[in-house]
Amino acid sequence: MSRVRPGRDDSPDRLYTLTGGRSGTGSTAFDVVTLVVSECEPVPGMQSEHAAILRMCRFPTAVVEVAAGLGLPVSITRILLADLHDTGRISARHPRPTSYRLPDHDILEQVLVGLRNL
């Protein structure tokens, strides 16, 4: 916990600029473990964070990994992802269980098998 925390000491102005002044997406679709996959390559002139996301997500990458990779808070990352998603440049694989609902027995069995195989 002694490492530099991303975003903490960043100028709020910088974060504000990154998102075009928005502080929320009005959408909670992107869970921290939603897996993001690029649907195209970065193009010249693209906002650098958008380009970085497209490079980072050539293979499935969780929202929280994108945030850590960008060095930005999760909430800011979600806004950037929403921009890319709205324009079809990324796709999102959302987690199956929904909020506060226990996963079904099959998923738990799969988790157990996976853990035992570690």
């Binding site: 916990m1 999760v74 157990l112 996976g114």
Partner: protein, 209 residues
């Protein structure tokens, strides 16, 4: 813009499509990151979430900003379970200010591990209380710091732990031991589901301010 971290991270399988999460919660220095590191396939990463809270219904008489921003940093690691399922482990501080973000970050979590240092059991009271309140299934794992041994009964008593909540002992530095903690949580989850299929489908009470 790509950081060195993302370059070094092994990529997930292109078939991965289901992110799962388990939260490891505990007091400062109890070994959360150590446990995550022990089982993670990536070096634990650190990020944070911020949330601004509007002062609801409170007149801002003092000219003080009506919004306050709370920032919570957390570590996480990753385990690819199979071709489709990927488990993310979040190490999160157990202090009061963290719980503010529980709904936002960790809703839909499979369950939680409360990591306890038996020399500082009081550090875990708040986490146990909040998880019970939320109805989030959890296990208690006592990390071995080589202090005076306590019996399971003593620890249960000190935490006022319900009988059905598993209590395990572990060494967070050990991959095998940390893996067993996660397995005990998932086995507990199976028991919870079997005993009460409607568990967690009740409305979630609002967290206390």
């Amino acid at each position: 813009m790509d950081s060195a971290i993302s370059e070094q991270r092994p990529a997930l399988s292109s078939t991965a499509d289901n992110g799962l999460k388990i939260v490891v919660v505990g007091g400062f220095g109890v070994g959360k990151t150590t446990l995550v590191r022990s089982v993670s396939e990536i070096r634990p990463l650190n990020t944070e979430e911020t949330m601004s809270q509007a002062g609801e219904g409170i007149d801002d008489t003092g000219g003080v900003a009506a919004k306050t921003a709370t920032t919570v940093a957390f570590d996480f690691g990753r385990i690819s379970l199979d071709a489709r399922n990927v488990l993310y482990l979040f190490g999160a501080p157990g202090q009061e200010r963290f719980w503010f973000l529980w709904d936002r970050l960790f809703s839909g979590t499979l369950g939680a591990v409360v990591l306890v240092d038996t020399r500082r059991i009081a550090d875990s009271w708040y986490a146990v209380d909040r998880l019970e309140h939320h109805g989030t299934p959890f296990v208690v794992a006592c990390n071995d710091f080589g202090g005076p041994a306590h019996t399971a009964a003593e620890i249960r008593d000190a935490l006022d732990l319900a009988d059905e909540v598993p209590l395990v002992f572990c060494d967070a530095r050990s991959r095998e031991s940390s893996k067993q903690v996660l397995i005990s949580l998932v086995e507990h989850l199976k028991n919870v589901v079997a005993a009460d299929p409607e568990h967690g489908r009740r409305p979630v009470p609002e967290p206390a301010p």
